[in-house]
């Protein structure tokens, strides 16, 4: 039922925006979760600013991951770069096996506290889905189409840009979507190294035993993740329909 889904989406977006812009209105909802008169709504910073900073960090890391992973994926599917495929795959896998907290902790002495180590951790963690999907998308291009493109006189670059990448786009976008959604949650850990984001709200809650804070941070993050996931699925479907893939 597309109608119901759209209504649900709008409601969710509306709720999110309302909460971020007018958080105090929701105080009665969260009040029962606090004890000893603790503030029901996070008051140590602007929730909207934190949410935007959080998204900013995630999208920046996603952009960097996408550029590297897609670039690497293209490189290793060309004849000249095929020798790098096994190693690239291994490295990207290592990037995901490395717990983000460990990457974060190791990056701090190198680049300091704040956004930088968080970006590095999110970047490393987000490479795998995009890389694997790019390689998969490029490798599953129908051979007859590639043959025809070559036979018609497209140069390698023209073939890549006009044929292979457009056909691989749905898979690549799916990889980016997965990477984004995972990282929205992972980015909360960045607040342990003073990165600006919703993790701050959660950690403030943990430190002062304020469940309301924890819930606010967690729910906003979760809601953003769901909305972005959903939004991207819609974009992908639209793109596929337009491009008739």
């Amino acid at each position: 039922m597309p109608r119901a889904a759209t209504l649900l989406r709008l409601a969710a977006v509306g709720l999110l925006v309302a909460f971020l812009t007018m958080p105090q209105r929701f105080a009665p909802v969260f009040a029962p979760l606090t004890q000893y008169g603790a503030p029901p709504i996070y008051d140590q910073g602007n929730l909207l600013a934190l949410a935007l900073a959080h998204l900013g960090t995630v999208f920046l890391a996603a952009a960097a991951s996408t550029i590297l992973a897609v670039g690497l994926g293209i490189l290793v599917t060309r004849a000249s770069g095929a020798e790098f495929l096994p190693l690239s795959r291994t490295l990207v896998n290592i990037g995901q096996t490395f717990p983000p907290v460990a990457v974060l902790a190791i990056a701090v002495p190198l680049v300091g506290f704040g956004e930088a180590p968080t970006l590095i951790a999110l970047f490393a963690y987000g490479l795998l889905p995009i890389f694997e999907n790019t390689v998969s998308g490029l490798q599953t291009c129908p051979p007859a189409v590639i043959e025809a493109a070559d036979g018609m006189g497209m140069s390698g670059r023209q073939r890549l840009l006009s044929v292979e990448l457009p056909l691989a786009m749905p898979l690549i976008l799916e990889g980016v979507r997965l990477s984004l959604v995972i990282n929205i949650g992972t980015a909360t850990i960045g607040s342990t190294v003073a990165a600006k984001g919703l993790g701050e709200v959660i950690i403030a809650g943990l430190l002062s035993n304020n469940t309301a804070f924890i819930l606010q941070g967690g729910l906003v993050t979760g809601l953003m993740a769901i909305l972005i996931y959903d939004g991207m699925v819609t974009v992908e479907k639209r793109l596929v329909r337009v491009a008739h893939l």
Binding site: A144, V145, E147, A148, M152, G153, M154, L167, A243, H244
Partner: protein, 311 residues
């Protein structure tokens, strides 16, 4: 027009094409036939340098094809493969327009050419130009594939088992279409197939390949009557050679002056079809009619039988 000089392709110790030399006339259809592994596809793909020769050269209109960048060469040569390779993310019109766009034609010229080709291939532009490949039937896709290869008015058309994926009825129609197109545009066609009947139907000259070498390169009738190698006669088949020979000649070509009662046959009908009609009706003579219905002469049973003899 196309001269292939001692063209060889080796992959390590394996020789796939062994010093092949042949000359292809302008405006003709040449068919290269052989079993799988004979090297016929590799030979074809060395003409447009999708495979680079180990030695030897290809001259098109006395120009060595190796002297220019491969992708520029290919824009002047049409290429059709089994499976077509139509771009699934582009419309029929965009597919056909691919090479003209690469060559920088202006928009109006491209549109005109696309419409012209669609009409020639019996696909109404209004209906088909905006469709996507997956919305077409197999036969329609095949026609778009050929149209796309001819879009930039190439002098040479290379085809690698282009009708292999079609069912027999559509295949026959597609072969007829190819003959029409070739007559209309005068393109030099080189076609690869493993189907001997197709080779005989389409080729003005047929080259039989086996294990990288061309065993015989001649008109189909000569392949039948004077095979140069046991493999050639095996390939053409020994069981109904006479029928095959008869199918190479049309009634119009051998009609004697005179009239006859009895069945009528078209001037374009092959002697094999005429024989079949005569047997069926029990007659000994048939009248030959031109396309417009005027009589063109007659053929007799005796005359047909004489043509079926190996001479």
């Amino acid at each position: 027009m196309i001269r292939i000089e001692t063209l060889t392709k080796q992959y390590g110790p394996l020789t796939v094409v062994d010093s092949v030399s042949m000359s292809i006339e302008r405006g003709s259809i040449t068919v290269i036939v052989g079993t799988s592994g004979s090297g016929k596809s590799t030979l074809l793909r060395m003409i447009n340098r999708l495979v680079e020769p180990t030695s030897g050269r290809v001259l098109i209109d006395n120009n060595d094809t190796a002297t220019e960048p491969a992708h520029l060469l290919r824009r002047r040569i049409g290429y059709v493969i089994q499976g077509n390779g139509l771009f699934p993310h582009r419309t029929v019109a965009e597919n056909i327009a691919t090479v003209p766009t690469l060559l920088g034609w202006d928009g109006a010229r491209i549109s005109a050419r696309v419409d012209e080709l669609l009409r020639i291939f019996q696909l109404d532009p209004a209906e088909f130009a905006a469709k996507f490949p997956h919305q077409l039937s197999g036969g329609q896709q095949q026609r778009v594939g050929v149209a796309r290869a001819l879009a930039a008015e190439p002098a040479v058309l290379l085809m690698d088992e282009p009708f292999g994926a079609l069912d027999p009825i559509i295949r026959s129609k597609a072969q007829d279409d190819l003959l029409d197109i070739q007559r209309r545009f005068g393109t030099t066609v080189v076609l690869v197939t493993h189907d001997m009947d197709e080779a005989f139907r389409l080729g003005a000259r047929v080259a039989v390949m086996s294990q990288g070498r061309v065993l015989q390169y001649d008109r189909p009738a000569v392949l039948l009557t004077r095979p140069a190698d046991p493999f050639v006669s095996r390939l053409t088949g020994t069981t109904d050679r006479a029928m095959k020979l008869l199918s190479l000649t049309t009634a119009g070509e051998v009609a004697e002056p005179g009239a006859a009662e009895g069945p009528t046959v078209a001037a374009t009908a092959s002697l094999r079809e005429v024989l079949s009609d005569l047997l069926w009706s029990g007659a000994q003579v048939a009248t030959v009619l031109n396309a417009d219905g005027t009589p063109a002469g007659r053929v007799t049973m005796a005359g047909i039988l004489a043509h079926g003899r190996n001479s």
